[in-house]
Symmetry: C2
Subunit: 159 residues, 2 copies
């Protein structure tokens, strides 16, 4: 049950789409590749910018639609990185192990973190509550080591 998700990720994207009655199009292909190659989280306009190098006519609405499908298929994950900049979202390709994201609320740097405890936690929850987890998003916010070392006073909060 926990493993199903991992197997799923390995299935080629086209297969995954067809299993749900969706089609592989040039747009979805390029968008998925952009995220797989990026290795980091991109927001929708940035995905558009990069994908347009292959498909100049690509429209932002199509990017949003593709991100939505890929997200539902478990091929990509959505993040908000503590909304450090704006209220938008970021996307990244899934890898075989889920990881967590820590965003420094002072400098905005993002750290990706992995630990077996995360898998354990998910398994425990599935077992205890009789549910199955498809997406697990653990986002952390705080002060990174570098900023803490600077020993600045707590920042002012604007109204």
């Amino acid at each position: 049950m926990v493993l199903a998700k991992h197997l799923k990720q390995r299935r080629p994207v086209t297969r995954e789409l067809q299993a749900r009655g969706l089609r592989m199009t040039a747009q979805r292909k390029v968008i998925a590749e952009v995220l797989q190659k990026a290795g980091k989280h991109l927001d929708a306009p940035e995905v558009l910018r990069r994908a347009r190098q292959q498909l100049p006519g690509l429209h932002l609405a199509t990017v949003y639609r593709a991100l939505e499908s890929l997200k539902k298929l478990g091929i990509i994950d959505e993040l908000d990185l503590m909304h450090f900049r704006g209220t938008g979202h970021y996307y990244e390709a899934r890898t075989d192990k889920d990881h967590m994201h820590f965003t420094c609320q002072r400098c905005g740097s993002v750290l990706e973190i992995q630990t077996p405890l995360f898998e354990k936690l998910k398994a425990q929850i599935e077992g205890r509550h009789g549910l199955s987890i498809r997406v697990a998003r653990l986002e952390l916010g705080g002060i990174c080591g570098t900023c803490a070392a600077k020993k600045e006073k707590p920042e002012r909060i604007s109204a």
Copy 2:
């Protein structure tokens, strides 16, 4: 280090605000109370609706501003519940122990989950990476037990 956050929550809201140069206003007070009494996650318009029972002239912009301050002070947390309905956010008062939210992606029901493993996980991360966590948001999406029992075929995904 891990405890600091808990102590903070217990400090009265007014104190917490003043420590950052902010003021306690009728608006912030009512908005904080609405969330503390609600016991569940509310979105901004719903917070407005409830708070207006005490402050009829309250404006939505003020609600957003108050939510932002309270969030930065660690008095409330922000969620998106897997964006099951729209791209907006939900807010809830913090309690002494963080909990996780599972949203069923079929029926939309939300389950709050607690386990000591979560605290353990955060402590481990703080120790390993030399950072301090102020906010931890673990959101899960999947199929709840009730929906799984209905044995329906995987839902169609619209483009």
